[in-house]
Amino acid sequence: MATVELSLKLQASSGSKIKDFLNANLINILAAFLFLLLAFFLLYPIIAVLLKSFRGPSGFTLQYYQNFFSKNYYYQSLYNTLLLGVINTVVCLVIGFCLAYMTTRGPWILRKPLKIISLVPLIAPPYLFALSLIILFGRNGLITKMFDLHWQLYGFGGVVISQTLAFIPLAYMMIENTLMSLNPNLEESAYDMGASEATILRTITIPLLAPGLLKAALLIFVMTIAEFGNAAILGGRTPFLAPDTYTMITGESDFNMGSVLSVVMIAPCILIFFIHNYLLEGKQFTTIGGKPVASEPRKITPLIQVPFMIITTVAAGAIFVCFAVVFAASFYKILGVTHNIVLSNYLDFTSNQAIYNSIRVSFVAAVIGAIIGVLLAYVIVRGKFFGRTFIEMVSLSGFALPGTVLGIGYLLAFSAPPLKLTGGIMILALNCVFRFLAVGVEAGISKLHQIHIEIEEASADLGASFLTTFYKIVLPIMFPAFIAGFIYTFMTAIVSLSAVVFLVSPGFDLAAVKIFDAAVYGEIGIASATTMKLVLIVMICMLILNFISNKTRLGSSMKKSAAV
């Protein structure tokens, strides 16, 4: 037997030897290449931040950390940030769960409108809510004036409210996705056997949801403490780590202290990331396979329905009002002072340019991100090399990295030759690619787990080369994951502020930064109008994407992908 094989091999020409080698090892070469990319664009910037926090003018020093922990100012900032993160996560989960429950289990008539309202804020910058809170509840706000109230919006309370409203959609989206993929049969049989709604919730729905909830919690916590728009606009005197880091870098230009603040901010995130991974070890009982099934509305007992309805109505109402208010404000030259309606806020040319830039960056990031995501998923699932889990961990760690940190990391790592990337579109796009990579990778992994490797093996046995197999078999399977990565990256990149704000350069402003500047500056009209234009344009982009993917008969996977 062995001799036959040997002679066969000997007969083969040298050209096919290379081919064989490639077929056998291409996946490893690909993995090595992807790992280099990850190391360069994800690990290196973070290491640069870490190094900077320890490197004083005369070598290694702990002085900056000592500074941090010995001064009241920073300590308060850390405490406020963690408190904000915890409160926000809990509130967002509760509201997100209620919303998701109503849109998947509630009355038919409510499902669609609730879903739309819950998802629309995803395409607006998170600090839209700070704007609308100022318009309504500011010291000269509509409601404040109407009832002659005396409250303090600028502080911890204001930040909690705006940040909660901003991250409800994320919570909703993630919980809804897990709820959709839960097989409703379990709950329905429990219901048929006479279990009360509360019992079903307690013993079936929530335990099955646990992994999804945990993941949502992780993501919300990280996003909340990193996204600094609301805290910077409404924080007043209350210090938070993310805006402090921003001021430290952009105002005081103290990169050492800025790095220390970043490291302190990363620490809880990484911790939670590991806890999350540990808890989920071997607990992947969410049903991935099969199509999501919409469950028939059951009769929900008032005891559950009433509080759920109240929470849902309040949350959806608040989101709706905030959007309406910003829309209205975009037509006023000076809100609260003059009362004639103008269009001048919309005709601001510089904001149009910024929006165009944002779309460019997001599109480029989405294409690159989706491709890398799919390839990574493939090598993680199908590869058999050492360090596979490490690559998986690194590529999923984007979930746990505050954007601010990656922004500073890129600034530190890529602002001097030979690696000078700052001052252009590529650094912004690459930053978005590697921050939001996790979604594409995860979607790809779950897709690949559904398809048995035998199909690929069969193809290889029939003589197809690795590339042919990849092109003809793997790519079509992975296409929905590609779309998922594409949409998520596109949507998140276009409204995200926390990292790109460090990387914009003259002549290349982004819409999110532009809106933030206008809001901080107090130009509510311009900020509102730019937000509205951005929302409209992103909506159009999403509709086009939706149209394309429907045309290519990917409708169902698309819906799923949007919610990964």
């Binding site: 911890f156 000076i334 609260g336 510089t350 294409v367 296409f479 500056y521 107090g522």
Partner: protein, 330 residues
Amino acid sequence: MKRKLIAFVVAAIFSVLLAGSAMAEEINAYMGTSPDNNAKIAQFIKDKTGITVNQTFQSFGEIEARMKAEAPNFNADMTIGCGSSTGFLAKKSGWTVPYVSPAWKGVPEVFLDPQGNWYNFSNFSFVLVGNKDRLAKAGYAMPTSWKDLLDPKWKGEILMPSPLSSGTANQMRFSFLALYGDDEGWKFLEALDKNIAYYTRSGNAPTDLVGRGEFMLGLTSDENVKKRLDDGYPLIWTIPKEGTGYDGTFALILKGTKKLDACKKIIDLLGTPEFSELMAAIGYVTPRPAPNALYGKTLPKYIKLDLGKASDDKAKNNDIWKQKLRTDFK
């Protein structure tokens, strides 16, 4: 087939977006005046020289930080509008391309560096603004002395920019320290802090926030006050009897620029009487005498300042600031 078509379309869009568009003569600049004024200056340069200025709006403090971070590989060709501290620092660190402009002949020495490292195209001060409507409703008069601001009746009603992020605010802080001396100065700032609602990020922000009635009083940069008055904001402004501090608005050519000729043309333009008229019409005090829109003929009373020291002491003062002043703790 369909997939190929999509791939092709995506690739096409991708390359178009990545390529961007290159136009005739353009430079990148860091500009630190307000967005409105940045646009006005850029438009003026475009009209007179045909050069397009790409700019991002940043505060003086942010521009200095960014230049420090990027030096010596700047992402811009020029800085048009930064504080004196940035100008001195740039000269000291050798970040500039010296150019002695013939167009600036006859301008007083405070407005330019003899070696041509920086040009100060306009001075600005900080003023006290109040919201007319809110003041009338409360029955309060505008304060006439800085010390009046310490009255507890203003508690939570005064805004001031944060020196951590705003160069204007650094100038305010330094002016009070110069006016009252270090010890008394810090005592004044601490007492003032009790009445301050919060510290804004940008030096102009109090003008807009007080103008919209969010707060009654604001210590703010004077650069936007005229514009906001014209826009119809119910504002009233004053300079208390002790006087006010000031800072320059500097222009520099940054090392490494590949468009030196365009930069020189712009520096020349900034020295013309026409440009001074433009800036004076906004409310700036300019290198060439021009009718001032905000102050008229009598220029404000200035507190005696050492701008070099203001720039040197900044880090030290920031540190004291963080230790002394109150932050909210939940």
